[in-house]
């Protein structure tokens, strides 16, 4: 079934010109990560003051900032320098972004180049008429207060020119590794998460066929009354095998940012994209959504998309994106807004000719002639039947909206690593009490 979209602003097309800009050290690392994880069809631009880092980047386009000011050295953690250096290269930046319709700016805030240059790049991109999405990371707590402040300032500044800002806190992502692991691992975990998020974004933008990307949808997720950018939470899971629907969801929720799904309860909107090979059945999709539904709150609106990507083969994947305001007090669920439900691809699929639905999965709704994506009409989604043969994943107890920002470190279970978690009122009691209650212990 195809429903017509309303409020179309930008048509998303397969050939949408996307430029992914990695600004500063962290930004460039993300680009490298993206290439490693597989991203095609978008042009990659690395922008940095540090010439050495730039040289080592895999991006096709490179711009060096501050040729005369910093002369190939970094900005030294000073945003002022970063800004001035960026100003020197304004012409080049403009030129490189001239063609892009969507600019995804990846930047690690808190340092010099990223924090100083971000708002300039965003401004330039917007001037060119592109949509600007900023994916920013906020420094680890251990990096100190100065960096945190610089990051916040830079964030506020860049938001003025960005259509969408997604922030990730490094702390949340760093929790993916064991507490005693090296800093390298912590940073690496942060990069991986950003990379996945960027690919999901690019995928959203590139949806095939009649579907459009409304920045409206993404904007809906990120809409909060306060001025600070909301913190984004992202989970991605992929699995194959007999129980792949539940396994994929479990893995997506295992991402520490998802905090085992507890965060979903408090988020007003959640974007979910499910993708699978041509063998994916509607039953599995239902199982997954049913399981997911246990985690989201009563008032949460789910923006749901499904894509069939034959190259996934036997695997099924789910991407979850939600946002909570920086200030927990700000969560006021938005009045129910008309949202057209739209599918998405979790990862950038190659532009492909239309794929015929194989005859085998009978219960798949009839495909459009152009695309293998399918999407239920709004009312259909409401009536997804409860799957009787639900998978054995035990549902967590329902919680009241949990607004605290401090994410629990799910790995800090120590002795209870491999035992079944004890969940009471949404808290995993195996995690030390003093951690959960944020009691100061040096």
């Amino acid at each position: 079934m195809i429903s017509l979209d309303r409020n179309r602003a930008t048509a998303a097309r397969q050939d949408l010109r996307i430029a992914i800009v990695g600004l500063g050290g962290a930004g460039s690392t993300v680009l490298d990560r993206l290439v490693l994880d597989g991203l095609s069809g978008a042009s990659l631009v690395a922008i940095n003051t540090d010439a050495q880092a730039l040289a080592g980047s895999v991006a096709a386009e490179k711009i060096q900032l501050g040729r005369s000011l910093t002369r190939g050295l970094g900005a030294g953690g000073d945003p002022e320098i970063g800004f001035l250096a960026a100003k020197e290269a304004v012409g080049e930046i403009r030129a490189v972004l001239a063609d892009a319709e969507l600019v995804i700016l990846c930047v690690g805030l808190g340092g010099g180049t990223g924090s100083g240059g971000a708002r300039l790049v965003a401004e330039l991109a917007r001037e060119q008429g592109a949509k600007v999405v900023v994916v920013a990371t906020l420094p680890f707590t251990f990096e100190g207060r100065r960096r945190a402040e610089q990051a916040e300032e830079a964030l506020a500044a860049v938001q003025r020119d960005a259509d969408l800002t997604m922030c990730f806190e490094n702390d949340g992502m760093g929790d993916a590794v064991a507490p005693l692991a090296g800093i390298q691992d912590a940073f690496s975990a942060a990069d991986q998460t950003i990379s996945q998020a960027v690919r999901a974004l690019a995928g959203l933008a590139r949806r095939r066929g009649l579907m459009h990307l409304g920045f409206d949808e993404l904007a809906t997720i990120l809409r909060f009354p306060s001025e600070a950018a909301p913190r984004c939470y992202f989970g991605f899971g992929e699995a194959d095998g007999a129980n792949r629907a539940n396994d994929a969801l479990a893995r997506a929720l295992k991402n520490p940012m998802m905090d085992k799904g507890r965060l979903l309860d408090g988020a007003p909107n959640v974007l979910v994209n499910v993708a699978g090979g041509s063998g994916m059945t509607i039953n599995e999709v239902q199982i997954l959504m049913e399981a997911l539904n246990r985690y989201v709150g009563e008032e949460t609106r789910i923006l749901f998309g499904v894509a069939v990507e034959p190259q996934l083969g036997e695997k099924m994947s789910v991407t979850i994106l939600c946002a909570l305001p920086a200030d927990p007090a700000d969560v006021r669920l938005q009045p129910a807004r008309e949202i057209a439900i739209r599918p998405a691809s979790t990862r950038r699929a190659e532009p492909e000719p239309a794929i015929e639905e194989p005859a085998a999965p009978r219960d798949f709704p009839e495909p459009t002639e152009e695309t293998a994506d399918f999407r239920p009409a709004d009312d259909e989604l409401e009536h997804l039947p409860v799957v009787a043969s639900a998978a054995p994943v035990p549902p967590p107890k329902r919680t009241e909206a949990k607004q605290e920002q401090m994410l629990l470190d799910p790995v800090a279970r120590g002795r209870f690593e491999r035992s079944e978690p004890t969940i009471v009122d949404g808290q995993d009691l195996d995690i030390p009490t003093f951690l959960r209650r944020n009691v100061k212990v040096k």
Binding site: P179, R415, T422, P432, F434, L435
Partner: protein, 405 residues
């Protein structure tokens, strides 16, 4: 000494396996002959997670007990715990058949069966169905209805059930090592037998057994068992918290907890440091005592608060005149009674098994309360005992067990 009767209680705890050998005398008293223990591995939160390892530890404990008591252990009474065990109160009712209006013994079985008709989840099996009150034609306060005239017999039961497979795991593990399992008992039910006297049961009391993996509790109101349960948090969690909080390995955290930990915060002077010795014996890191205590305090407080919530939900808290009895290994944390008093607003004290005789050191250790309690519980089931209503009903229970196996 002809009426000697050996009873063995075995508790498979998370931190230690405890096996107590007792001798039931003809006059009904129990004497502890020997206590065997072994550190427990393969058990988490009261449940067996590693079958083989647990079996090895059980064997160790049994051998230790056999040596100390000079007795061959052929059968045991097994104590079980775990978060999967749940309990509720239910009333059963039967109408006395018309041709007679005298209440007879067989009516007990019927009324009990009626009480148990409340569905226990499939996959669960009954552990205990413990009589609370009788009502004859709606009149309560009936102690022994046999012989009374009435049309309707009702009885309240406290029903305890748990996941069949998990209980079976424990049973199989023991059987694999050797001994038969005569009965399976929910741990706090056993502990209460030796920790509370009749007076305390009448006044109303709460027994909290803080073990390594679980905190088991049981509530008596007006002499009758009203509520029981298990929180899957115990001393292990405290040790784990310390280990993660101070970033030291578990073994040292355990030593630190036992040696220096306290549940009281604010009592140590600022700057009062504990020195963590490293392996070579030289002084290693220093940590503030207050930090250690804070970590311990947080966790213990949480345990009590969770417990209190459960009690409040059942509405039992206001009836406990005898207050709280703390037992189990975890009860030895300094300051814990104080904290319990603060949270529950009723007197709390540390306790251990009474009503048994034997080597003092054996039964005065709160860690043995449950295993000793198992013996007392078993004694109540014995046919030599003067027939009490309680034991009669329990005996009927014991062959109700057979269908589970």
């Amino acid at each position: 000494m002809s009426n000697e009767h050996i009873i063995v209680g075995l508790e498979i705890g998370t931190s230690q396996i405890c096996c107590v050998v007792g001798d039931l005398r003809s006059d009904g008293t129990i004497r502890i002959i020997g206590v065997g223990t072994a550190p427990s591995r393969g058990v988490r939160k009261g449940e067996i997670v590693d079958f083989e390892t647990a079996g090895t530890c059980i064997r160790e404990a049994l051998v230790d007990a056999e040596e100390k008591s000079d007795v061959m252990i052929g059968a045991v009474y097994l104590g079980v715990s775990g978060a999967h065990i749940e309990s509720f109160n239910n009333r059963g009712a039967i109408n006395i058949p018309e041709q007679r209006d005298e209440i007879r013994e067989e009516d007990f079985e019927d009324v009990q069966a009626s009480a148990r008709e409340v569905s226990i989840p499939s996959g669960n099996s009954l552990l205990h169905s413990i009589l609370q009150h009788y009502y004859v034609d709606g009149q309560d306060g009936v102690l022994n209805p046999v012989g009374l005239l009435g049309r309707k017999l009702e009885a309240d039961f406290h029903i305890i059930h748990g996941v069949t497979n998990r209980i079976q795991n424990s049973i199989r593990c023991v059987k694999e090592v050797g001994p038969e399992v005569l009965e399976v008992v929910f741990n706090p039910v056993a502990s209460a037998q030796v920790v509370l006297d009749q007076n305390q049961k009448s006044l109303g009391a709460l027994v909290v057994d803080i073990g390594g993996g679980t905190t088991d509790f049981i509530v008596y109101v007006d002499g009758v068992l009203k509520q029981s349960g298990c929180l899957p948090i115990g001393g292990d969690h405290i040790t784990n918290d310390i280990s993660l909080g101070l970033r030291i390995p578990m073994a040292r955290a355990e030593k630190l907890k036992i040696g220096e930990g306290s549940a009281i915060v604010g009592a140590s002077a600022p700057g009062d440091m504990i020195v963590l010795k490293d392996e070579t014996g030289f002084a290693g890191r220093e940590i503030e005592r207050e930090m250690l205590n804070t970590i311990v305090h947080c966790r213990v407080r949480e345990i009590f608060e969770l417990l209190k919530r459960r009690l409040d939900a059942a509405g039992n808290v206001s009836y406990l005149a005898a207050g709280i009895m703390l037992t189990g290994g975890g009860s030895q944390i300094p300051g814990i009674a104080q904290l319990a008093e603060e949270i529950f607003a009723m007197p709390a004290q540390l306790t251990f098994a009474h009503a048994v005789s034997g080597a003092t050191s054996a039964f005065e250790n709160p860690r043995y309360s449950t295993a000793i309690g198992l013996i007392k519980y078993a004694a109540a089931l014995q046919p030599e005992r003067p027939k009490s209503l309680f034991s009669r009903v329990l005996r009927k229970l014991s062959f109700l067990w057979s269908w589970i196996f």
